[in-house]
Symmetry: C2
Subunit: 204 residues, 2 copies
DNA sequence: GTCTATAAACTGATAGAC
DNA sequence: GTCTATCAGTTTATAGAC
């Protein structure tokens, strides 16, 4: 509708976007249950019906946050890879893109982690495991591909996947909880390279 | 007093221990804030004053759980290593012991993660970062030791540490959230070996 | 001291005017 | 699209009986 016709700048500062932003900040800081609809709308400077107009409910707003972030990750899996890329390059590319999406949605990732590791807080169920599994499967597939193509040493592809995902998860956790000592994209690259060198047939 | 003189079996099933166990189960399942003192004592079959006698408060009980688990981890850092052990062997040993402690205190670790990643829930502050940092520092030290001794390739010891810790963290996260697909101690060993082989000068 | 009954406050959510 | 006004359900606090 008219919303789609707006320039991008207007969209980013739209009430809808500002509500999403305020909610993600508050949910991340205080938790889903402890954050009230009143606080969210007050932070944006609008009234409650505006929130219900856009999202139907507090749960709807939460789900919008979760699903939009999940979609950003899932999109990475369907993106076309550069022609002629090696398995190593594809693994690195996927890992880096996922890390960037993670950083762009840092507040939402904080909420996800809090719900995932902690009590549900009354928030509607979201299948975080499935998302994680999709990614793990894709990395496993890429490792098996590289192994079949002679790029990686013959071995247990699952163990190699664990080593690769471990670096990824650690980089994400640092970003979330210890930003002052974070690995950053560059640290993730170097740790991933280290693992990839270890499983590669070619010697650096 | 008399408590110290009791045989170990009696200690494990003492009211104090049963309170700790019940509290860790409830905190892990429902969160610290949502768990009432009433529920804890009801689960053990005692009255509230019993809890206040042993721990002073709900906070005191919580801190006892956190500190006893933290101590189990910190003890690993001070334990004497087998004479003549290589850096690889020391790293593997530390990682495996830490993983075992993690599994033994699984419920408490669940609480730690919930507090660490989520809202404080009114729980008293515990410096989880410091504990994590102590471990990371120790692994880094061992990597540097191995590098100085020619056991590991010359490179960025911090990056190597990240790769090693990544596998450890992933194994712990699986144990916590996806026990049905867990790496287990054996998976951790193999992933750690993979990384260690990659940074070793000796070829397997 | 402990329990129950009730009141006050706050929650997510809605109706209807503009 | 946004507002004012208000809903019903829940939690929280407290007063008062036991």
């Amino acid at each position: 509708m008219s919303e789609a016709a707006r320039p991008a700048e207007t969209l980013d500062s739209s009430v809808r976007q500002r509500l999403l932003r305020a909610a993600s900040d508050l949910f991340a800081q205080k938790g889903y249950a402890a954050t009230t609809v009143r606080e969210i709308v007050a932070a944006v400077g609008v009234t409650k019906p505006v929130l219900y107009y856009y999202f139907g409910s507090k749960e709807g707003l939460y789900l919008e946050l979760m699903q939009s972030t999940s979609q950003s990750f899932l999109k990475l899996l369907d993106e076309p890879v550069p022609a002629g890329a090696t398995a190593s390059q594809r693994i690195k590319r996927l890992g880096e893109l996922a890390f960037q999406v993670f950083c762009e949605h840092l507040q939402t990732m904080k909420i996800m982690h809090a719900i995932y590791y902690g009590p549900p807080q009354g928030a509607p169920f979201v299948d975080f495991d499935a998302l994680h599994q999709r990614f793990q499967d894709e990395v496993l597939r890429l490792v098996q591909e590289g192994m079949a193509g002679g790029e990686f040493r013959v071995g247990d592809a699952e163990v190699m996947t664990w080593a690769l995902l471990g670096a990824e998860h650690l980089a994400m956790q640092f970003e979330l909880c210890m930003p002052e000592r974070r690995m950053g994209l560059e640290g993730l690259r170097r740790a991933t390279d280290l693992v990839l060198e270890g499983i590669s047939t070619a010697k650096a």
